[in-house]
Amino acid sequence: MVSKASKAKAPNPRITAGLKDLFRRPRALLAAGVLLMMVFAAVAAPLIMPYDPNAQMFEGLSLEGAPLPPSAQFWLGTDLLGRDLFSRLVLGTRTSLIIGVVANGIAVFVGAAVGITAGYFGGWIGGILMRFTDLMMAFPALLLAIVLAAIFKPSLLIVALVIAMVNWVQMARVIYTETRALAQREFIEVQRAMGSGPLRIIGRHILPHLVYSIIVFGTLGISTTVLLEATLSYLGVGVQPPTPSWGNIIFENQTYFATAPWLVFLPGLAILLLALSFNLLGDALRDTLDPRLKGRH
């Protein structure tokens, strides 16, 4: 078992310094800005939304039943049920962020636990864990997610779990490789020579060194997660209607891409922006936190 309890207590000097450095980068700053806006939108959705996002308004459709293009009344137009697209997009932010945080959180936890256990102990435990990871790697991820989503009653939590099941693998791989390398480093050897137990070594000496990878891959993983949720919803096996998610908004309206492009491309843009922001942030974090990219001699 891996103890996560003994995290580095004091704010890691590298991380605090890194954060300062981070906000000197215009791209990262922009990404953080977009993310903050989205978090704000998700939290304050009820205050922002001009309409009830689930209200199917009579005036939201043309007389023949066609969705309305963006206008002063409906800023981003309406969807096929006469609902306000802007309100739905705002509420959809919540879905994406919750999925991003929850699903990715689980994936990060599982991935890190598996990676550390396998990497540190090696032997048959490590062998079994890593073979299992290989197996999951070879699974066509989307197929797996679709089948899982079909088995369990779809709900936000289940979708998050399903995505986590698919996404922990990358984290496990990265952490495994790093732990393997760390476990052979001299300062760990010193610990063993000193008689420290594995729990202590992992908790006090290995985990603090993995924090940066976990943060970086955690951030990058969020974008994968958001995209996977969108894809599942796009295929109709994700978040259940009428809860809006950017993916299922596109799913509901996809055939209208030629007649009502805003219904497809605006939520598409939202997904892109969110994933892009997390990617940019993760990349900037990687640059600022990765000691290997600094101080090369």
Partner: protein, 306 residues
Amino acid sequence: MWGYLFRRLMQSLLILLGISLVTFVLLYLVPADPARQIAGRSATAETVANIRAQLGLDQPFYVQYGRYLGNLLQGDLGRSYLQRTEVSTLIWARMPATLLLMLGAIVAELVMGLTIGAVAALKRNTPIDQSLMVFSFVTISAPQFVVGILLLYVFAVRLGWFPIGGYGTFAHLVLPALTIGLLGTGWYSRMMRSSMIDVLAHDYVRTARAKGLGKLRIVTRHVVPNAILPIIAMIGIDIGMFMSGIVVVESVFGWPGIGQLAWQAIQRVDIPIIMGVTLISACFIVLGNLLADIIAPLVDPRIKLK
């Protein structure tokens, strides 16, 4: 070398076995009764039971799995419940389309990805590098279904440069291959860039400069060949991404490959087809990884297969 190959092959087989087991368990849990779908709505309960017995669905799980494995070993992927055709025939018929798409996508992403990555690395920290990297991030972050629909909308519907969907000519291939390739382009360009930067910092590049070699020669002979090495390991992962991508992309473009087959089968819970496609995709991924392992020592003399 042969011993290594053999062991890797055995390992791959084990992985495939594991995948078949997991998929079988999952599909066993899916709440849908194939016998009822086959029997149709006019059937009596008795008929349904009869069909269930014929398909062996009334047997305990391990018997069903055992029989599936037995057939699998003889190369028999089973018969589709609803299409009433050998799964292998169905997959085989769709394989050329998927392979073509794969080829197109890989060529597109390698050409674009490696070029962009190399240029960005050489122009590191210039506006060129920054805009290329933002581009690569956009391609990584854009959901494939949106990219696909966008390309379709702009280039096929609006501009009419390419056919709107279907299969057959090179023109049909461009948009779907590009849709999948763009994602790969993003990944490859980022990998290539960091790999190039890494290689550029190596002592032997300094040696090459000390030899008075020209920049072009240094890049093409010393930097790129070394920078490519870590990218070879991407093949397996790349095929995994491809396999996930085709479900969406093939359905957006009406591309008659196994992704479309899988999606239709999932909709109707046609278990033998889902099993078959999953296994075939897994085979591709496993083979991709194996291929990466085999190619690596061919291009990198330091690696020996052990």
